[in-house]
Structures are given as C-alpha cells and as structure tokens.
Symmetry: C2
Subunit: 163 residues, 2 copies
DNA sequence: TATTGTTATACTCTATAACTATA
DNA sequence: TATAGTTATAGAGTATAACAATA
C-alpha cells in the first residue's frame, strides 16, 4: 500500500483518478471557451468532427455514435443547418433516411476548431518542459488505449447520471 | 511544429487536451458509479470532502469554493442534512451565518468514499506498470499545481466537452 | 409490423433575482 | 446600507413517448 495508515488521509496527495477528472474538466472548459468564441457549442463541434470523418452518416447512426437520443440529434442538426455548417438530404434509396454532410462553411469551421485546439495544447501543458510533455502524451495514450476509448468520439457525451 | 501539413489531420494522434478530457470523463464516470452505489451524487461527495477538511465553514464560503451560487448550496446542504451527513448551526457571533459540520454518519460516508476511490485507482491505471503510474502521478500533480487547481475541489460530474 | 425521423412534453440542473433576518 | 441565507422563477439541456412517413 502506497500510503500507510500512519499518514493522515487529509494529507495524502490527490489520486490519479481525481487529477484526471480535475485536469479533464479544466481542458474541457478551455475548449468550451474556444468554441464559444467561434459561435458554437462543444457538442456541436464534436458533431462537426464526426461529420468530417464519416461521410454520409445518417441521424440514427450519429445518435448511436454520440450515445444520445435521436430526438436530440434532430435539434443538433437543426442548429448546424441553420448556421450553415451541415445539410440534410433524403436518401434516394430509402426515403426515411436523412444523409448528413458538411458544407464548405462547416469544413472551414472544423479547420478553425482544429487549429484553435492545437494552439491550446501549449496553454494546457504550460509548466511542463518538452520531454515531460512527450512523456505525459505517451502515458495518456497508453491509458486511453488500455481503456479501449475511441479516439473518434469520446465519452464526454455519455450521460453520467444514468449509470 | 509537431505535425507538419504533410500528415493528414485526421491521422494525427489525439492531443493532450483531448486525452485529458477523455480520461477525465472516464474517471468521473467511474467515481459517479461508486457514489451512486453509496446513495449520493458526486457533487455531494465533493461537499462532504470539503466539510471534512474545513471545519466550521459557512455556506457562502462553501459556495465560493465550489464556484457556484449560494442558492445551490442551500439545496445541496438540505439534501445532506436530510440524509443525516451534515448539520447547520447558526453562529452565536453572527446569527446570519450557518456553520456547517459533518455528522458521524457523514464522516463514515466520507471514509467509505475515500476507500472506494482508492480501490478505483488500480482500475483506472490498469495497463501501466508501477513506474509509469508514479511518473504519471507526478506529471499530473505538476500540471494541476501549475494550473492553480484546488486539491480540495473535485469538479463533480459536470458534462465534459468534446475536443 | 418495423424503422427513421420529428414533435410534444417533462424532468434535472443550475443561475438570477427577489426576499428575510440579521448586522 | 450591506451581508448570509432562502425562496421563487426561468432557462438550458436532455430524455421519454407519441406520432408521421416510409419500408
């Protein structure tokens, strides 16, 4: 055991789980500030990313990927369509299906988001030197892959209170 | 620049910010599952932790520490009081102030939460060897302290955004 | 009858503002 | 007049269920 009973619990250093939650929230908030400046929400940014990677996805598939209800996807796509970033089009093969695509403006926004997120890396890892950053990156990648987490859609979308 | 334009953006490895958000969500979810089993929410667990460390804190101070409105603290303490984990008592010095304390049951719950969270460390860091865990722990501590994050305040299970 | 998408509705979480009781 | 706490209310976000169109 790392911290024997002799050491008061209140003085024990924060655990890895705690630190990951804390720093994850910090990173998420920083990203949210960025998307806010660009006029969209983090969730919408996530949808744009998925649309950019999976061409011709439909709303049911998107809902499944996000782990959310189809009714929520309706509202999400409504917003992105109104903003001019995405389009719906009925499949000619099966007219129940709405095929989703990015517009040119959507692709531009996606590129902006990626640039902003990349620029934010420095801010988030400020306080670490280059070697430490590389090391941290490798450890987090290892952990993420060991957990089987999907680099395409991350679990920030899942409803925590439902479990 | 780490990833030159030659490399397609879609193939670039996930950034540290993304990984922190992803793993932070995973850790928060695991913790939420634990608190659910114990019959409380992650936010309430966070309040118990603060009450356990700062004796005689009042509601305004707690609101400030949580970064939330005083009105929300009212509801939070209502629940913890009903559950028998915390008590309010008017200060005799200034009768506007409600002094908050843990009950014995509250301290017992706090101990249960700490044990459960400690047991969860292994689950969260599965895939890393002992040396890697120590290294990761140190890097995260350094980052958290560089960000000025409060080691007492767990961000709860707020919805984390996507990167 | 089953599936895709939509609408209607309700519930949870949270913040803002008005209010009370003390100072 | 200012402060600590409370209550009232509203808004955002999300889920469930009923419904429409299509298969």
């Amino acid at each position: 055991m790392l911290y024997p009973d002799v050491m008061p619990r209140s003085n024990r250093p924060a655990r890895i789980g705690f630190l990951l939650t804390q720093l994850g929230t910090f990173a998420a908030e920083a990203f949210a500030a960025t998307t806010r400046e660009l006029g969209i929400t983090p969730v919408e940014a996530g949808v744009l990313r998925i649309l950019g990677r999976r061409l011709g996805i439909n709303q049911r598939e998107l809902a499944e990927k996000l782990g959310t209800a189809q009714s929520r996807v309706v509202a999400l796509i409504d917003n992105l369509e109104t903003a001019g970033y995405a389009t719906r089009s009925r499949s000619t093969v099966d007219r129940r299906i709405q095929l989703l695509e990015l517009t040119d403006a959507g692709r531009t926004m996606l590129a902006r988001l990626r640039n902003a997120a990349e620029a934010q890396e420095a801010e988030i890892t400020d306080g670490l030197d280059t070697g430490e950053r590389t090391l941290l990156h490798q450890l987090l990648l290892k952990l993420s892959s060991a957990r089987g987490l999907d680099p395409d859609v991350h679990p920030g979308y899942r409803q925590l209170s439902d479990h």
